[in-house]
């Protein structure tokens, strides 16, 4: 006997146990590898900071790489573990499209913080002098 709640779901995703286990195993391995790579880059950044004069651009590039790896991890968690990838396309869009707001959200607010810093450094010499890290 089927429960009324099941009538809402007219198409069932049938995955046999073997395929499912393989998919979960592969995703777990992938997430672990991505995390280990992130940690390796993190340690690399740490060692660069310890050095005499870290190449700021290189540090920024490594940080960007970690951000991209994190987005990849997020993608696999959402699409495989949360099964969003198996849902109907229109449903996926109702989740993903609003999240596009984050593109503006992140860019605008980071830009704002940076601009505030620049203005303050430009017009408040004492602030700049007292807060700028000295090179060791």
């Amino acid at each position: 006997m089927q429960h009324p709640a099941f009538e809402e779901v007219t198409i069932h995703h049938h995955t046999d146990d073997a395929t499912f286990k393989k998919k979960v195993k592969n995703t777990t391995i992938l997430l672990s590898i991505l995390t280990v790579v992130e940690l390796a880059i993190g340690l690399l950044i740490y060692n660069m900071h310890k050095g005499e004069a870290p190449n700021e651009l290189l540090v920024l590039m490594f940080k960007g790489m970690v951000c991209i790896l994190t987005l990849a991890k997020a993608y696999y968690i959402v699409s495989v573990f949360m099964h969003l990838g198996d849902e109907i396309r229109n449903m996926i869009m109702t989740i993903v499209v609003p999240l596009l707001l984050f593109i503006w959200f992140i860019a605008a607010f980071i830009w704002d913080g940076n601009s505030y810093k620049n203005l303050r450094n430009k017009y408040d010499a004492h602030y700049k002098e007292s807060t700028m890290p000295t090179k060791h």
Binding site: V9, I11, T35, E87, I95, G113, M132, T134, H136
Partner: protein
């Protein structure tokens, strides 16, 4: 008409059927999680704004370098990677619990939910240790022209720029005697015998000589916002983990009592599963923003 044809040509938007082929509760869980993503996103972006507005921000590898039982060993990223893997593994056990639910396998659901709860509790334990370590930490800093010993709180951040030796030499003269005694007792690295000396009996001048200024790595105070953002955001995430553990425990009890077996489906496990994976998802970003970059 054959039923196979009806399934093949279902027009989802003509009414009478769920347009998204989803149970209502599960769809609403998705929308709740989307709104929660914006809440966390707003917190993290606000942290980013403040961080970009500062000339100096502490290096996370200097702040988070401790490991339980490892004393003062410098182990950047070690403990947080343990926490991250605990959460990934508990996410995997949750996937297995949901899958067992699909197969109406009660014992499977119980087994995997149990391990998910264990993982969640372990993560919370790690976070409790980390907070305790940060709050009760003793760090020598130079603040307001004198030396002080502080932990990481929402009021002060001990991880500013390294203080110059000239500034320290001036500040140490203005430091209250009580603090000087504690600084001497801290000793610094490679100063193991320090605890046996009765520093309270020394004169101020001798105390200043006894303090291992080099070994203490005295810093200026860092940006105050660091503590509020760190405790606020990891606390809000920890609260999600905590409520996730509670929800999972309730699901475990309901499974045990055959509530879902009588219903004929384990859709509730899918919904709690979505919540649990979201908690893992948020951690991925917290990990990125606070520990990696």
């Amino acid at each position: 008409m054959a039923t196979t044809a009806a399934v093949q040509q279902t027009k989802w938007w003509t009414g009478g059927k769920s347009p998204f082929n989803l149970e209502y509760g599960k769809l609403m869980m998705w929308y709740f999680l989307m709104s929660d993503a914006f809440t966390f996103g707003a917190f993290l972006i606000s942290y980013g704004t403040i961080r970009f507005s500062q000339n100096f921000w502490p290096d996370p590898n200097v702040v988070f370098n401790a490991f339980p039982g490892a004393g003062h060993a410098n182990l950047p990223l070690a403990f947080v990677s343990v926490m991250t893997f605990i959460l990934i593994i508990s996410s995997v056990t949750m996937v297995l619990a949901v899958h067992a639910g699909h197969n109406n396998d009660k014992q499977g659901v119980i087994k995997w939910l149990f391990w998910t709860i264990v993982g969640g509790a372990a993560f919370l334990g790690c976070q409790a240790w980390e907070w305790h370590h940060l709050i009760t930490g003793k760090h020598a800093i130079l603040v307001n022209g004198q030396l002080d010993i502080v932990g990481q709180t929402t009021r002060i951040n001990p991880w500013g720029d390294l203080a110059s030796q000239a500034d320290i030499a001036t500040a140490i003269q203005n430091t209250p005697r009580e603090t000087l005694v504690r600084l001497a007792e801290m000793g610094g690295h490679g100063h193991e015998g320090a605890a046996h000396t009765n520093f309270a009996a020394l004169s101020n001048a001798d105390l200043i000589k006894a303090i291992d200024v080099e070994g203490l790595h005295i810093r200026e105070n860092g940006p105050v916002a660091f503590g509020g953002y760190f405790y606020g955001i990891t606390g809000f995430h920890g609260f999600h983990v905590f409520s996730g553990v509670i929800i999972n425990i309730i699901m475990l009890i309901m499974t045990q009592k055959d509530v879902f077996a009588r219903r004929g489906h384990y859709l509730m496990i899918e919904k709690t599963g979505l919540y649990w994976h979201f908690v893992d998802l948020v951690w991925v970003f917290v990990f990125l923003c606070f520990y990696l970059i």
